[in-house]
Symmetry: C2
């Protein structure tokens, strides 16, 4: 029988260890950061009733969804984001939870869209939300978590700027132009600014709102130059004072109190295309690679559970696009000639997966080798056991290929430790001394 | 519009924070253990070509698989285990990897089977395998990892016994009865011993192998009483010496060298139903709850990639069924009256998700509260900020509900720390002193 060609579906990927180690390292940092704010994890099924996930049926979304009939004749679909399952989750479990509920959810989602650079049909989202509070304090906590967590992930590689806006402010401005009833359509077009440019958006806006309106709207959304305070003044002048400007004032105060103002820009061109946002909205950009688009976006939505429950529930949250962020950090690391020093800090560099290996000296010796390795593992040294007895030089090459910095060679009652990078041996060690040496380098 | 009833599909589950924290804690322990042996993580797509996953088409498996036609007309399926995707992965990537390749993969799989107690349609497997070595050293490393990792997970709750056998030995015994060509069928029936009992299996065996053969086979597989060495002697007497008995001898030596013999039992009734095993096979049972079945099973398979490549590749590996193990540990914890002391050690007890919370004293104060919380976070204290100003007693109740042991109350230039369990305040602290107190208790 001819072999089946081994391949994955278009838009899907295998993660080899070098990439998966980076990925898991990122997730670990994200989780640690979320947990430090007292957020707790949840999980929901990958597969749900299509009715639950698609609700009223959003045109564009529906085309992208993996939807099928299961063995029991049920109309089911793979989740395409983590927000809709979370809305269902809150409607189902709110009585079991303490509000305000602060949760995160890191999981894969699937969309059968066209696969482009940085866009996959299977990708990971890291959502974090506060449900049950309509306060500026909740809005700010999400913003602070974005800035803190992205800062941890990007480190020295890039600064992060979070551009925020308030939907209400823009809607009031449209109202002043007599365009309130067209706000959803207009918001969707403005959201395309980054993709199709100013002229393209002007044309689309004039189709909807009439000649002249396009330029006025574009003029308004260009007010976001200069600092937060000045921009807020200009926007308030354009749309008048309201609940939204007061909310933005309050956020500005919190930024000042926490000394985080430098990370935030008030930008009236940020609208987010999705209809469900009702308050603040935001996107995040890497200062060194703005062209890759937003790596973490979100906002306030006040009708989260309305599809599944008559009880209203406020929410505010954001989502890190892990795949796009990983691609961006890899690109930045490649640009700066990221080094392969095994320190685990770089992106193009190999992350050290193992600290030491016990050499295989003879067949039948593996029990003793494992007992020795266990003594190192107990001391916090990740220690592999080589399985096939070979010349020591070959085992050193194997260690080098695998990125293992130390090889442990039992010699009678003592140990010799080989430093692979320096090509040096240290002889006559006991386990304690060898573990200390391996832990240090 | 009437709300859509919020519900999940039968056999699928939401994980609320209390369960998800336990689950993630288990995965963290498992990963740490695997990594300490120098194993590295990989990931593969949830969705693959049906042809890749189903290959020759296994009757029972095929019925359980979620299979459908995607938007591009492709015949696709959700993975039903992590072994088949791994075989495809190895055939596709072996040139990019250093052999022997030691990898783990912790991920969800989907099977549309009947949902029973402890059986779900979506569940998590934790696979670990060594590919590219046919040595007893590799067999033993997997066994040692099983015993070490399950030991870490079960802790005081239960001992773990790993029951192992060798497929070759049983096949040679069948050969001596003239039943070699029926070995696959016979192995499948013997695997049902735990489910349908001795009489049921005897009847099935006699249908296949003729009158009398059933009793002989059952006699052979009952030889596994007493210690490893004695059982191996009896089995060798029944089937003669061979490569398989020598392999078991070697493993016995390794157990002795590592002092782990007490965890392993040689049990000729362990056969594993799956056809692809060719050498050692094993299952693991909790001493305190054997009825729940095997929580970690596996074995040696020597034709891993044969569907996708003409190059043969040896492998040996095992898989922890996370859901079943979690259910078992929860049951054991409930039996022993697991306490809710917040220490994170118990299963029925609540895992502490957050160490402290800053009280909300007045509206508009949230920036200062976040700045204070950041000072605690920097010192390793997970610190939530309460968002809604309420009476302090109500905030203490909120902390208690959420399992947060300390509440931080700013009082002018100093801090008061409320111990929720003891209902005691300590006043006049600076951040350093308050963080030290919160870290201690």
């Amino acid at each position: 029988m001819a072999p089946i060609e081994p391949r994955v579906l278009k838009g899907f990927r295998d993660f080899l260890p070098a990439q998966e180690l980076i990925r898991r390292g990122m997730i670990e940092k994200i989780e640690k950061s979320f947990r430090s704010f007292g957020f707790v994890p949840i999980d929901t099924p990958a597969l749900e009733y299509a009715e639950i996930l698609l609700g009223k049926g959003g045109g564009e979304t529906e085309k992208q969804v993996y939807r099928f009939t299961d063995q029991g004749g049920r109309d089911v679909a793979l989740r395409f984001d983590l927000t809709v399952p979370f809305a269902r989750f809150m409607a189902e479990h709110r009585r079991e939870l303490v509000l305000p509920f602060k949760r995160y959810h890191i999981a894969k989602v699937w969309r059968g869209e066209n696969a482009q650079r940085g866009r996959y049909r299977e990708f990971t989202q890291c959502d974090f939300d506060i449900v049950g509070s309509d306060s500026a304090a909740a809005d700010f906590e999400i913003l602070l978590m974005m800035s803190t967590t992205l800062g941890l992930l990007c480190g020295e590689a890039s600064g992060v700027t979070i551009r925020l806006n308030h939907r209400g402010l823009f809607n009031r401005f449209l109202e002043s132009l007599g365009l309130k009833d067209k706000s959803v359509q207009i918001l969707r077009q403005v959201d395309k600014l980054g993709k199709i440019g100013r002229d393209g958006v002007r044309n689309l806006l004039e189709d909807i709102a009439g000649a002249g309106a396009g330029e006025k709207i574009l003029g308004y959304i260009s007010l976001g130059e200069g600092d937060f305070e000045k921009t807020l003044e200009k926007l308030t002048a354009a749309a008048g004072e309201g609940e939204d400007t007061r909310r933005l004032e309050e956020l500005k105060g919190y930024m000042k109190d926490t000394g985080t103002g430098g990370s935030f820009v008030l930008d009236p061109s940020i609208t987010r295309g999705l209809d469900y946002y009702t308050g603040v909205v935001y996107e995040s950009f890497l200062d060194e690679l703005p062209g890759i688009g937003s790596v973490c976006s979100g906002g306030r939505y006040d009708r989260l559970t309305e599809l599944y429950s008559k009880e209203p529930l406020w929410g505010v949250g954001s989502s890190i696009g892990l795949d796009r962020l990983q691609a961006a950090l890899e690109e930045l690391s490649a640009r700066s000639g990221g080094c392969s020093d095994g320190s685990g800090g770089g992106f193009s560099g190999r992350i050290r997966c193992c600290d030491a290996a016990v050499a295989a000296l003879e067949t039948g010796n593996s029990g003793k080798a494992q007992a020795l390795a266990e003594a190192f593992r107990r001391r916090g040294i990740r220690c592999e056991v080589f399985l096939e007895p070979k010349k020591l030089t070959q085992q050193f090459i194997l260690a080098e290929k695998k990125g293992i910095p130390w090889v442990i060679i039992p010699e009678g009652e003592t140990l010799t430790l080989r430093n692979i990078a320096a090509r040096e041996n240290t002889e006559g060690l006991d386990v304690e001394a060898a573990a200390a040496l391996a832990a240090g380098g």
